[in-house]
Subunit: 219 residues, 2 copies
Amino acid sequence: MRTVFDSQLALLEAQMLVMASSMEEAVVGAVEVLESRDKERARAIMEGDDDIDHQEREIEALCLKLLLTQQPVAGDLRRVSAALKMVGDMERIADQAADIAEIVLTLEGEAFDSKLNKHLAKMGRQAAGMVHDAAEAFVKRDGERASQVVGEDASVNEMFERVKRDIIKGIQAESDPAANLVEALMVAKYLERVGDHAQNIAEWVEYSITGRYKGELLG
Amino acid sequence: MRTVFDSQLALLEAQMLVMASSMEEAVVGAVEVLESRDKERARAIMEGDDDIDHQEREIEALCLKLLLTQQPVAGDLRRVSAALKMVGDMERIADQAADIAEIVLTLEGEAFDSKLNKHLAKMGRQAAGMVHDAAEAFVKRDGERASQVVGEDASVNEMFERVKRDIIKGIQAESDPAANLVEALMVAKYLERVGDHAQNIAEWVEYSITGRYKGELLG
């Protein structure tokens, strides 16, 4: 028979899976509404964020309960403490998605200048891909995949710099209304942060598998 | 005689204090160099960030060691798990300060338009004040002060909206070079995030004192 601890740990993993899918869905949705400008869907992404915040609190409560009542050791302790850290990044990723959706609601007129639009969309897909892979690495306890995610953040950062240059050019050429260009820069920044948080998640996955966090042995 | 656990907990608190002062110093410095445009000092703030990252990892390692070997309960467990969560926000605050310092290095010419400059400086002081108060609330286990910090975030968010409006106007009036205005917006966003992270820290301080996180009983 399963012990109480085993079933609580299984519950934790199941809750993490639900939260990971919610977060991934929010990011993919935010990237899509950025192009489609579908305001109804943008509103739904924003409203979904409360639910993700609630999931975070439930997971935190369960992690603390597990630490408090079950006093796990070794690999189990790493898994619980990594989960406690990771949910913070997962919630932050969902926040950025909601922030992007909120921006879509404020944009006036049609899509951005085609080059800016293309670069933003590419950046969005890359960031969403990192989120997906980090979540999958956690689920499958796949350290190799986690390391790949860590390596991808630099390319999202480069894309941010490129989009920033597009925006400065757009301001000078008045290719889009100034207010829209300012919001496009915010979107790019949020996507860059999504990449950062996906990297953080991947680093905690590595820790939960190997005991090494950013290459250093912890605990 | 003190137990091993007590001395390790005292060490954790001392390390948290060092990290809190480093973080606060970085934010205050970033706000100052934004006005003074002192590039040498900006470089020093950027370089100090590696040290803060290292402090974070040391604290995380100590928290995990405490959880693993000492299996603290009740209030002690809350203090250790809150520390484990808070250092993430502290590190992120220092990152934003380093990002602002890095921007100062790239700015061309003199200070921003005086209104924008004034609003940014005010926003910076408010965000730095929240960081100071959140750190002090942790040190003094002062739940009331922590609650005050939580309440202040809305005003930093409002200031961000005001600065954003200044910047859109500045773009239209060409009051500053477009590249500088884009960077000013990034600075404002980073300061707004500093406020968010200070609020997160204050929420973990409340939890470590009361067992309630964002008003909900955890664990």
